[in-house]
Symmetry: C2
Subunit: 315 residues, 2 copies
Amino acid sequence: MARLGPGEVRTVACIGAGVIGGGWAAHFLARGYRVVAWDPAPDGAARLTRLVDRAWPALTELGLADGADRDNLSFAGSLSAAVAVADFVQESAPEQLELKQKLLADIDAATPAGVVVASSTSGYGMTEMQTAATTPERLVVGHPFNPPYLIPLVEVVGGKLTEQWAVDWASEFYRLAGKSVITMDRELPGFIANRLQEALWREALHMVANGEATVEQIDQAITDGPGLRWPAQGPCLTFHLAGGEGGMAHMLDHFGPSLKSPWTRLEAPELTPELHDEMVDGCEREAAGRSIADLVRERDRAIIAVQRALGREHG
Amino acid sequence: MARLGPGEVRTVACIGAGVIGGGWAAHFLARGYRVVAWDPAPDGAARLTRLVDRAWPALTELGLADGADRDNLSFAGSLSAAVAVADFVQESAPEQLELKQKLLADIDAATPAGVVVASSTSGYGMTEMQTAATTPERLVVGHPFNPPYLIPLVEVVGGKLTEQWAVDWASEFYRLAGKSVITMDRELPGFIANRLQEALWREALHMVANGEATVEQIDQAITDGPGLRWPAQGPCLTFHLAGGEGGMAHMLDHFGPSLKSPWTRLEAPELTPELHDEMVDGCEREAAGRSIADLVRERDRAIIAVQRALGREHG
């Protein structure tokens, strides 16, 4: 079977016209693809149109790909009609396991052989979703962030019955479609970014539940605090700089004991020599030769640019 | 005693010339204050000068206050000489409890009556730090984020022996000095922002320890994912929008069960009707009449601005 290369995709089927499905449709249109959508709801087409219309000005401002056209969107009369013409399928149905299992089996049955099918699920592993499919080897998770037309991250991971070529193909396709891809080599509940986000969210809920902080204080704590650093440098590099010239190694030596402190309800792992070294080595790999002073300069420039972009510079 | 108003402060004493103390010195200089610094290390003055020199171009670019001058920085020969001339004292010594207790008592003894003394501590409560001071009622925590000259957030909270006027005075002073202030009405280990950050950090360490994710994947997951939303809208408003037109109420109904999922090692609190309502009401208060569509437009504009500012728009 001559399989289409990730760079040869012309038509993407978007199944589901909710916030995520509509966001994907907008993204693929802006990157120059034809999009065929389908949703079982009677107002699905209207909802999808509204979602894409709302996103389009932002996407235009950000820069459309050559040939990108709002009118490359069509709405199919049936699931099978939508996926029959697809070079890639993105499923974004509600988060209900049985629904996903059945829908992915239906998609699989109607999609041309060799075409990769990705699920936007934020909660399920592909292993538990692919059980009813006839050719489960081409089913992968392609988990986006809201809104998919602006947040670059996609986490790609297969299930037990997924073949490696499908994971690789999807990762390469998303990259060509302008996404920032993390390819995971094993299933993990919540994947990576949602585990990080969920830990923060649960701690926030605990604080509100206990009357320790208000919703507004929690949001202010992030938007005016660590949230300003994270678009530029993630949590590991952030702490690499918190260690001063000594970087992550000094940070772990100095603040290691604080992992025993009740600073969150989440218990910390033991800071073994192996974990210590992995954190230090990882930061060195990311720094890729840049000194702490270099990284501080980059961080400062980025924070200033972000503040300015948000209209928050000093008067 | 005629106490100086928060708007009448001219001279700030910065005690400690590490990354945080130096960052505070740079911030106060840029906002037009005179800064008298002190550090017990032989190379303290040189280190402080280097830190301020490195920060100054960024601060100049961001916009200096009227009268701000890099040369308004001096280094005192002793702790008592530094605080004797201060209208406000910011202590940023290493995170060691006994050292902080002793140092705050020494500062308290040498600082003019009625002058507020704030500690940059990220780990201790003022109740445990103020034990040796003679006039502990004017001691508060004023916890900044790195770098203090660019990240606006300061968390202000007193200890058991702190009087309310000192908490209010410090909060107002920081606001006038250009900071975004959260005034807490009770002590909480790690305060608010660090509890959120620490939950995320511990989950990250768990993933690295278990070989589930690399340092680079964790940083990419944040910088290219949720981290792009958080400078504009905190975690609560972010999820308010994840609920579509139904907002936080729909989000909690739809994703509430996921609080039982093993998406992080942190156990979630029970989603009681009270917690449900507090989250929904808090988001409504923050939205302040803005519809979900309004907030989506604001979020999209902000994410685009941030991406552009970081040079990440599509080619």
